[in-house]
Amino acid sequence: MASTRDIRRRIKSVKNTRQITKAMELVAASKMKKAQSAALAGRPYAQLLASMLASLASRVEESAHPFLVKREVKTRGILLVTTDKGLCGPLNANLFKLVSEIKTPAKFVAIGRKGSQFLARTQRDLIADFPVHDRVPFNEVKVAVEFLMKQYLEGVVDTVEVIYARFKNTLVQEPIIRPILPLSNVAEFQALVDPKSVNADTRDMLFEPSAPAVLDALLPFYVNRYLYQVVLSAKASEHSARMVAMKTAKDNATKLVGELSLEYNKARQAAITQEILEIAAASFSAA
């Protein structure tokens, strides 16, 4: 049996760990609240934008804008959105699993340090990585998106897809891969999001100032906004996952402290009994 001093030392160290995980849980919880409300507040906007695009895409020729043209896919372009820091449960590992399933040639762009580390480690073709802070400024995401769109227009990549952890609720974050460019499948995607918004009016649509001008403004804007929403969602997932992971760690530490205390008390009791026996035996033999 371990000595009482060893047990006491372990209890102390586990208590320290518990304190740290508890602090991290609280920090993650407050960040989570902010990230969640940001992600949820942005949803109607992104959805309305998608529905505008869907009604637009169904009414113009595919060749009207390079973003609408389906090309033969030689190289996929994939944006991997991960966290900067670890300690958030299986969140990143689940995303990496999705990445590992990609066998066709692909080039990667990463947001988040964990992702770029993983891609470098597995020797994939990482063409750029971008840092995005916790508050998710639109401009930081925009830089990454502009880069991707440029690669797409120049033909370096033939699709743009994004892998991220979609925020469902605090306990559930779903790793998902979503196609972004070409936008030809936006109509189906829209039906998926909101099946009741089918085009209400069958008359020809009017574009002002002109169809190309509206397309030029709306399509890049949509891609920007959509990916911004994706990053917001990923951040909400990150903080939720971290909070849950830290809560589990804290609960485990509490349980461990309980078990160790029991063991410590037993050891202490045994030592006292032993001592009394020894004193009694000594006084017998002296008498």
Partner: protein
């Protein structure tokens, strides 16, 4: 068949109601929307929106840059920013405008996305002040 108007910004759903008519500022000038309008997709520019509600009142809103779609009896406006006339805080707007203009003075050092954002703020501020002053 009355119209349904929906104004959504990245932060919130600003307006969602059944209305009579609405006047939207677009890049080609103001357009009035009445029920039965032809499907339309247009670019919205910073300015004032006039909404005639079901009971005949007129509401004024300042909107930022964005897009508007009319499809059937649904009018959807997607704007960077939007605010109801009643809730405009003139002092705060003036300060925001001054801040943005101050930052724009060094526009050569800023990246294009930031300049675009600041210019958006200035345009929206001007639209808000314009609306507020005219309504007094």
């Amino acid at each position: 068949m009355p119209l349904t108007l929906e104004i959504v910004t990245p932060e919130a759903r600003v307006y969602s109601d059944v209305i009579e008519t609405v006047v939207i500022p677009t890049v080609q000038g103001e357009i009035g929307i009445l029920p039965g309008h032809i499907p339309l997709l247009t670019q919205v520019t910073a300015g004032e929106m006039r909404v005639t509600t079901k009971d005949g009142r007129t509401e004024y809103l300042a909107v930022g840059d964005g897009f508007a779609e009319i499809d059937g009896d649904k009018v959807s406006v997607l704007a960077e920013r939007a605010i109801n006339e009643a809730t405009i805080d003139e002092d705060a707007v003036q300060k925001a405008q001054a801040r943005a203009e101050e930052a724009l003075r060094t526009r050569d050092q800023l990246d294009p996305a930031e300049v675009e954002r600041l210019e958006g703020i200035v345009r929206f501020s001007v639209a808000q002040l314009d609306l507020k002053r005219r309504r007094r």
